[in-house]
């Protein structure tokens, strides 16, 4: 009973019965309570406060009730309550204390921290069962009510939104404009307000406040309903009087809102009033109708003013064609359309490049749903999340866990707030790690599986990720079941919301790519190697040599080596024997040089040596040369070698190679079986290496 219950993640059967968390440091007490409560309920057990918090984090809304002891080692019951308060769990999950402490100070303190009841000791089975049952029932009723209220709130916002949309359509229709103007103003207002939040602290706004301002912006031209049509839709320039009449639409619109405000203290109306009345004011006081200046103009009106100007410039109007984006930007930034808040102009520049596309892409439908949710979110958050949201969350978690269980992948999740890393069951088993790891950065077991340097590398990559490019992709070695295997890590950060930079957690997976990685490495090797001798081929050798030559200050030698009479060997003794001779030679060449030197087979029977020179240079190289000869199955191996020195004969690869080549030719010409160093008189000699091999 208790053994199974201790490891909370063990088979807690997925039935519909409620889940209860029992927290007590004494096994007997946990066992007793569990005994009394099963099979009516499913039970999780924790022996100390920290474990309780870990389980709460993992199971969250699944837990219907917590039975909490107070006196415990590590974190005590009060501290658990404090954490539950901080994370907002206390409102949704009822806590009943089960301490043996009867002093009223303890009980009161627990109540202060949000406990809903206490069960005193000694435990009485029927009392325990009844209290638990009643509390759970009470809370589920509460959640249901919360759900209903939340639904009402969303419904109200939806209705609001609908009304505003209808109203603004009426106005636009009369203006003879397409329905796009209001949509554009909304989009622009939304973009500018969000950018403003990123740029400065001066106008702090929540996302639901922003949503409300965006909604209110739809009404900015409502006053035009009172403007005579001849003026409104006049194709030419307006006379001074006509312009004066047009200007009254600000005050008229505000009047409409004011009338409604008399009867309804609605924030939306207040914002609409501000926007209607002052969306033609300018930052330097040169606007109308009241000549407000600077931040006397409410920020929502400032933003709509800018949006209105931009849209007017870039759209077709009765009295003008559409100007291109760039021209509109120049006109605005150049002050041709009035003075604006410098911070706002900064925002305009920052979102400028995206403007055209955003205006083109955003459809009315998208904006609607987003707005409604954003508007409702504030009210919902003030209470707790509705049970509908919880149900949705629950569904998501079930889906996630299902896929995690199905896929043979090591999936993981990490949360900064709790510093807790959790892994899928399969993943934890693969790596022989616990499913929950606190303080993973300092965990030794984890460090044994994933090297701390790699852990830090992954962290750094995640911190560098942005919402536009969130996915991080890297290959690391994991120590798994006694072997080191290659895994690809795919992960992404989870941000507070899609726009702000506050990283809340990370989600990702490790996929076994060992076979593929080895294949990759093999292919790479093969691409660089000569298949017969296993030596580097010319291209690979050259790649390795050039970095050395790029550094000045050291002496190097490039030597080209060629087997004498090799063609005869092939003809007389057959190609297979010839191959063996080559292999044998390759071996001797490799062994004849030092560890840091580079050797390669660059042609049929041609080899290249790249040596770091030791003093005295010439004798050492000659010694190496003489050591390369020998007998192979009765065949005398004779070679010729040409050497070029860096920096004396040249400093770049081509020059040195060419000169070594000429020295080799000279050696051949002089009778073979010898090693010659490049001299200037060799300059005009032809190459010794057949053109195919070069």
């Amino acid at each position: 009973m208790t053994a199974a219950g201790e490891r909370g993640e063990e088979k807690v059967a997925k039935t519909k019965t409620d889940l209860i968390l029992i927290v007590d440091d004494t096994e007997m007490n946990r066992a007793l309570l569990a005994d009394m409560l099963t099979p009516t309920y499913r039970v999780l057990e924790a022996a100390d406060g920290q474990r309780a918090i870990d389980l709460l984090q993992q199971y969250q809304s699944e837990i219907a009730l917590v039975l909490l002891d107070i006196v415990m080692p590590k974190l005590d019951g009060f501290e658990v309550l404090a954490v539950m308060n901080k994370n907002g769990w206390i409102g949704r999950i009822p806590v009943i204390t089960i301490s043996a402490e009867t002093a009223s100070t303890y009980i009161d303190h627990a109540y202060d921290l949000g406990a809903v009841d206490y069960i005193s000791r000694p435990f009485d089975e029927r009392v325990v069962q009844r209290r638990v049952k009643n509390t759970i029932m009470l809370y589920s009723k509460q959640r249901m009510l919360e759900g209903m209220v939340a639904d009402q709130i969303v419904e109200k916002e939806r209705n609001n939104y609908l009304m505003v949309e209808i109203l603004s359509n009426i106005v636009e229709f009369r203006n003879g404009e397409s329905g796009l103007h209001v949509l554009h103003i909304r989009t622009l207002t939304d973009l500018f307000l969000h950018q403003l939040q990123r740029t400065t602290d001066r106008y702090p706004l929540s996302s639901s406040q922003i949503a409300m301002m965006v909604n209110a912006s739809s009404l900015h031209d409502v006053g035009k309903i009172s403007i005579p049509e001849q003026i409104l839709n006049k194709p030419g320039k307006l006379t001074a009087e006509e312009f004066a009449v047009m200007q009254t639409h600000s005050a008229l619109g505000a009047q409409i809102m004011a009338d409604a405000l008399q009867r309804h203290r609605e924030e939306l109306l207040q914002l609409a009033y501000n926007i209607c009345r002052w969306h033609h004011e300018r930052y330097d006081g040169g606007g109308y109708p009241d000549g407000l200046r600077g931040d006397e103009i409410p920020i929502e009106a400032q933003v709509v003013a800018l949006a209105d100007v931009y849209d007017a410039l870039t759209s077709v109007r009765v009295y003008k064609p559409a100007y291109p984006h760039q021209q509109a930007m120049e006109m605005i930034l150049g002050g041709e359309c009035g003075a604006f808040n410098p911070l706002l102009l900064q925002c305009l520049c920052q979102v400028g490049p995206r403007l055209e596309e955003e205006l083109r892409l955003r459809s009315p439908g998208d904006m609607a749903e987003q707005s409604i949710l954003a508007l409702s979110s504030q009210a919902l958050a003030a209470g707790q999340a509705s049970s509908r949201t919880l149900t949705l969350l629950e569904q998501e978690r079930t889906k996630y866990q299902f896929f995690a269980a199905m896929s043979s992948e090591i999936q993981f999740e990490y949360h900064y707030a709790t510093d807790l890393l959790s892994m899928s069951e399969w993943g934890a088993r693969q790596l022989a790690l616990p499913m929950l790891i606190e303080d993973p950065a300092g965990d030794r077991q984890l460090a044994a599986v994933l090297d701390p340097a790699d852990y830090r590398d992954l962290q750094a990559k995640l911190r560098a990720a942005t919402p536009d490019c969130p996915i991080v992709d890297a290959v690391y070695q994991l120590h798994v079941q006694g072997q080191k295997r290659w895994y690809k890590a795919l992960a992404r950060p989870l941000w507070e919301d899609e726009e702000s930079g506050q990283m809340e957690g990370v989600i990702g997976k490790f996929v076994d790519v060992h076979e593929r990685q080895l294949q990759l490495q093999t292919l790479q090797q093969r691409a660089e190697q000569d298949s017969l001798t296993g030596m580097l081929n010319h291209a690979a050798a050259r790649e390795r040599i050039q970095p050395y030559l790029a550094q000045s200050g050291r002496q190097y030698a490039v030597a080209l080596l060629d087997l004498d009479h090799f063609k005869e060997v092939n003809d007389r003794l057959g190609h297979m024997f010839g191959d063996q001779v080559l292999q044998y030679t390759a071996q001797r060449v490799r062994r004849g040089v030092r560890a840091g030197d580079i050797t390669a087979r660059i042609g049929g029977d041609e080899f290249l040596l790249f040596l770091k020179c030791r003093q005295p240079v010439e004798p050492v190289i000659r010694r190496i040369f003489s050591g390369l000869g020998g007998k192979f199955h009765g065949f005398d191996i004779a070679m010729s070698m040409g050497v070029a020195l860096c920096p004396q004969d040249g400093e770049d690869y081509e020059t040195l190679f060419h000169k070594a080549d000429q020295a080799l030719y000279a050696a051949k010409k002089a009778g073979k079986g010898r090693c010659l160093f490049y001299e200037d008189k060799m300059r005009d000699l032809l190459s010794a290496i057949s053109p195919i091999d070069r």
């Binding site: 004494t26 096994e27 007490n29 006196v71 415990m72 402490e101 000694p122 089975e125």
Partner: protein
Amino acid sequence: MTTEELYRQIGGDYADTLRRLGSSERIQRFLSLFLREDSCRALADALREGRAEDAFRVAHSLKGMCLNLGLRALGAAADTMTEALRGGRIPPAADALYAEVKRAYDQVEAGTALLDAPN
């Protein structure tokens, strides 16, 4: 020995405990679990090593378990011990108090060993 007789011997309240826990089988089961906790030794260790806070917690747990199991005599001794340790220091009377606890505990342990198997 039946559970009822055991309780009479050690100064426990059988009737109340039976009412609360439901069955004598459960009482027996949890008695053995209780003894497996080995609280007495844990208390002795903590006192000997001067770990006052740990000693307090063990005594407190012991008292709680005794309450649940209706072990009056042992519970009373544990309670006295708990309160004496509440200050955060080990008082001079600790040895004497511990002796009381150990005596009652040993009684429970010895008696439990003689219990009839549950039927």
